[in-house]
Symmetry: C2
Subunit: 230 residues, 2 copies
């Protein structure tokens, strides 16, 4: 099943529309996005195969989704660790971080040490608004994601990939091919170049909005907030 | 299993604590509460046994939980109808209502007509902050809930029950015994008098807060946001 994709420009427009005429708050959308991410981890990494999840969070909304996912993962029984080197002053992200600290979830500054002690990695560094250069301290983080044998789930986009054109031809992300991807709301054009397991989250989209943006609403099962695209 | 309960006063204090030192926003908590309610409906009312769900919403947070639940129920494949006669000017409730209208979920003013055309009812009229009188137009609504043979799921409290002392000795709620109850965050003392199926939602509570308020953290399964107390 090849779902229709949403360009970076339309993804930004849709996000904006959800929060204006759609009447969703960012808190609500991020809670639902992070919940979706946590459900994908649950499918990819059974608790019995290792509970340690390293969540690498970038400075924007993609990182916020990672913070929410980490909270849900804790409640499922995982042991998340957070790498969040560029913490925003944004009130929402600060609150999401506080919620994790109240659960005594550790934050680390040492990604390269942490990657040696985890069973699964969530790449929540850059999402659909990424373009251009990978700034410090993320180049070496993305190289480590590229080189590790630990499975990686990318949130919305493999970090450093171009949203339209996929894997970069040079730079730290050259050759970075995560094991799995969860597209949020809708797949972006980069999925054409993606080979791993692919999930979609966004079980809140109205049929009218899906039609307006020419998106497919796939069939979710039961109470699932995600669906695997096969 | 008899879980420890949370008095009305402590429920209010805990709610306040979650939104201040706990750093949760009301949007977030309501999204999680409504999601829990929707999962209880899914367990009680299989889609194959009838999809029509009448959600009766009161003017406060309990009603807001009902509005969120209705949105999730729609996405699961149910056909919700909303009875929401006292709509607050509160921005959050207005946004939650807008989200339902964008899904073309019908709002009705005629509860007594609607109850004849539904398969399941969600009582999201009054929650833990209820005390005193049942005001118009809810007395006849609660009488209808009492008299109907359609199964009713009450959110946090059977509406009109006293949070501490349970079923009222007089008034419209006398003899109202819903089939099921979902306690949010923690059971309230009224559960002592409740005989039906009992669910708990609140898979976001930190061990530290549970300890402070002397609450039990039951074992949730898998990705469930609810657990049945048996």
């Amino acid at each position: 099943m090849a779902l229709r994709t949403l360009s970076a420009k339309n993804a930004a427009a849709l996000d904006q529309e959800l929060m204006t005429t759609g009447a969703f708050s960012i808190d609500q959308l991020m809670e639902l996005a992070g919940l979706s991410v946590s459900q994908a981890v649950f499918k990819l990494q059974p608790l019995s195969s290792g509970k340690r999840i390293l969540v690498a969070c970038g400075p924007g909304n993609n990182g916020g989704d990672g913070l929410v996912a980490a909270r849900h993962l804790f409640h499922y029984g995982y042991q998340p660790t957070i790498y969040y080197p560029k913490q925003s002053k944004n009130d929402l992200y600060q609150r999401l971080s506080k919620q994790l600290k109240d659960l005594k979830i550790p934050f680390t500054d040492d990604f390269h040490g942490a990657i040696e002690q985890t069973d699964h990695i969530v790449d929540a560094i850059f999402g659909f608004s990424f373009s251009g250069e990978v700034r410090e301290p993320f180049p070496s983080v993305i190289e480590a994601l590229r080189d590790t044998k630990i499975p990686v789930l990318a949130v919305d986009a493999p970090s450093s990939w171009n949203i339209e054109d996929g894997p970069p031809a040079s730079g730290p992300g050259k050759g970075f091919t995560p094991d799995a991807l969860i597209s949020l709301t809708a797949p972006k054009p980069l999925v054409k170049w993606f080979q791993g397991r692919h999930f979609l989250g966004g079980r809140f989209l109205s049929p009218a909005v899906a039609e307006k943006y020419e998106l497919d609403l796939p069939k979710y099962e039961g109470l699932d907030q995600i669906v695997e695209i096969v």
